[in-house]
């Protein structure tokens, strides 16, 4: 077995020492710090990015809250405006209606008054005509001279009874 050849031990150990020490120095001084530096840089970068993401998220949330608030406020304002306008409109409408009603009521009252006057006039004419008729009828049929006074009284009595 060549591995147990003692004469090869010395050169192998010497070169093991040389190469391994060289390896250690290169690793410790050159190669590993480079890798470590990159890894650290990346970690920092990721940390920064995550931090920035967090702050951006907070900002976005704040913006969302502000937006919500503004929206609610605007909505409330709009509603208030609408209510005001509709109140005003309904008030105007009510006023107009009332004016119309008043006018109508006045018209009705005037009409009634006219009707009443017309009726009174008609009734007056009726009594007059009926008086004349009565007088003529009495003269022609009964030959009785009826005084205007008596007729008037009689008609008035009848009319009064009717009217009652």
């Amino acid at each position: 077995m060549p591995q147990l050849d003692v004469t090869t031990f010395a050169p192998q150990l010497v070169w093991l020492a040389i190469t391994f020490i060289a390896m250690y120095v290169i690793m410790a001084k050159v190669a590993l710090p480079r890798v470590g530096q990159i890894l650290e840089e990346r970690q920092n970068r990721i940390d920064d990015d995550l931090d920035r993401a967090a702050t951006l998220k907070e900002e976005a949330e704040a913006a969302a809250v502000a937006y919500d608030e503004a929206l609610t406020k605007a909505r409330a304002e709009a509603q208030a405006a609408i209510r005001e306008v509709s109140d005003q409109l309904s008030a105007e409408a009510a006023e107009r209606q009332k004016a119309l009603g008043d006018k109508l009521a006045a018209d009705i009252a005037a009409g009634e008054k006219k009707i009443a006057a017309a009726r009174d006039a008609a009734i007056g004419q009726i009594s007059e005509i009926s008086g004349d008729l009565t007088k003529e009828a009495a003269e022609k049929l009964a030959g009785v001279k009826v005084t205007d006074k008596a007729i008037e009284d009689a008609v008035a009595a009848v009319m009064g009874a009717r009217a009652r």
């Binding site: 090869t8 192998q12 190469t19 060289a22 390896m23 690793m27 480079r34 890798v35 990159i38 970068r45």
Partner: protein, 242 residues
């Protein structure tokens, strides 16, 4: 292919001798140098872009980095961070050594007991040193199991010490044995492919293909086990308990 073990032979490429010690540059040394070069190239070239959003190679390098970092964090805790470069070097050295040994006609230096033992003893001595530096003489209390009658101590303390001393040995043997066994087995089966001819050669070839896949898993797993055990030993030394 006479001997399946010939692949483990050390062949000096440049004979060197320093202060009476044979320090020849061998095929093993060449693979070690290539391993360090490959790991360095992998980590520096892939990170050349230094992109915040990594490409394929950079992502691979980062995954490797974080894999070892997590291993240390899970097994040692935050105090293990100081030893990250060492454990990372150890892991990558063994992993790339194993993987590059998979290339045909190359050499697997992790299949040599002296190499694995060299690494294991460095880990063992380092961890023991850290234990003594952090806890002083209290670290010796490590070998006195708690909740055991005093009568048993003369037997249990040597056993504990032996158990502790067996750590580098088991660490070294595990890596060496796994790499040697895998490569030897592949060679044995490969040796049958040509002699069995066009008809019979398929079976050992299929076995070798399956073994190759298996060997890649082993290559990673052994590097992982070596690094994790180092982490566990380190944790024992740092967080002395009982």
């Amino acid at each position: 292919m006479a001997n399946p073990l010939s692949q483990f032979e050390i062949k000096p490429l440049i004979p060197i001798e320093i202060a009476g010690i044979d320090a020849s540059f061998t095929n093993s040394s060449l693979m070690m140098v290539l391993t360090v070069t490959a790991v360095t190239a992998f980590l520096t070239l892939s990170m050349r872009g230094r992109a915040l959003v990594p490409g394929r190679w950079q992502a691979l390098a980062e995954v490797t980095y974080e894999f070892v970092a997590n291993m240390i964090r899970d097994n040692v805790g935050s105090e293990g961070r100081r030893y990250f470069p060492f454990i990372f070097s150890l892991f990558m050295f063994i992993l790339f050594g194993n993987l590059m040994g998979m290339i045909p006609f190359s050499f697997t230096f992790t299949s040599h007991i002296i190499v694995t033992f060299g690494m294991a003893i460095v880990v063992f001595l380092g961890v023991t040193l850290i234990g003594f530096i952090r806890h002083g003489a209290k670290f010796l209390g490590y070998f006195v199991p708690s909740g055991v009658p005093v009568v048993m101590m003369p037997m249990l303390v040597p056993i504990e010490i032996l158990s502790y001393l067996s750590r580098p040995v088991s660490l070294a043997i595990r890596l060496f044995a796994n790499m040697t066994a895998g490569h030897t087995m592949m060679k044995v089966f490969a040796a049958f492919i040509i002699p069995l001819g066009f008809l019979g050669g398929w079976a050992p070839l299929a076995v070798d293909v399956a073994l190759t896949g298996f060997e890649f898993i082993i290559a990673f797993l052994q590097a992982y086990v070596f690094a994790v055990l180092t982490c566990i030993y380190l944790n024992d030394a740092i967080h002395l308990h009982h």
